[in-house]
Symmetry: C2
Subunit: 153 residues, 2 copies
């Protein structure tokens, strides 16, 4: 199997997970997409220890996923906002949400509804192909080593 020749370090999924692959970080990002911005708001929303929250926020800032923006001068206070790179994570978050809606929502239905402002409707997210526009599923896809693949030893 050629996939096993590609080292973990050379896998885009492994690289993504190294940054965002833990529960607290993904829950912080969920809150950021829900427009939570201040340290105390994250703390209250998540019930997370301040030290852990500090560490996770610092990593997200270091990785340019969140940026610190001053909202008060004296004393200086900052809030955390998604960068473009952070906003690029939206498909990951909404796909996890919709998967949870589909498989864990229970009888009463989804805890949250998402409305597409552009068309005004509640939506489900649909993954499509950039080239033909059709919906994508795993069975329709093949993979092969790309330009950044490691050469065989």
């Amino acid at each position: 199997m050629q996939w096993n020749e590609l080292s973990k370090e050379n896998c885009s999924l492994a690289r993504s997970l190294a940054v965002v692959g833990d529960r607290w970080t993904l829950l912080i990002l969920r809150d950021a997409f829900l427009r939570v911005r201040r340290f105390e708001e994250f703390e209250n929303s998540l019930g997370i220890a301040r030290r852990v929250l500090s560490e996770r926020l610092a990593l997200l800032v270091e990785e340019d996923i969140l940026k610190k923006v001053p909202y008060q001068e004296n004393p200086p206070r900052y809030e955390y906002r998604l960068t473009e790179k952070g906003l690029d994570l939206y498909p990951v978050i909404i796909s996890l949400v919709h998967w949870g809606d589909r498989h864990y929502a229970g009888r009463r239905g989804a805890p949250m509804l998402h409305t597409h402002k552009t068309c005004g409707h509640d939506f489900q997210s649909v993954l499509t192909c950039s080239e033909c526009g059709e919906s994508l599923n795993a069975r329709d896809v093949t993979v092969r080593p790309g330009p950044g693949a490691k050469k065989r030893a």
Copy 2:
């Protein structure tokens, strides 16, 4: 903020993360989408401790994300295949891969290329709205409590 009134337990993202929100589990799922199926193949591909792999596979089977299928009778041997619920995780995995491609691939480009068999082209995944078909991004979306939201205390 009304979002803070929705408890974590009542959040589809939190529910999803409770099942698939750790690195090993997501790497096992990556391999499953790359058609890795047998215990020893996962072990070799991931360099994971057998006990940890066993635990994660058992959880994924219990959650009906993978199913055990016999491939040998004497002694009995099983392989692990994605169920429909597991295949539903494809948008999560491919979104994480493409985010990694975009932001961590380095100069040489993506380690893997994905081809859409239906149209024959290498693709990027595009998240679209089920209702109008336009591409979705976080800024175009609003959220509100759904039928499964907890009532205010």
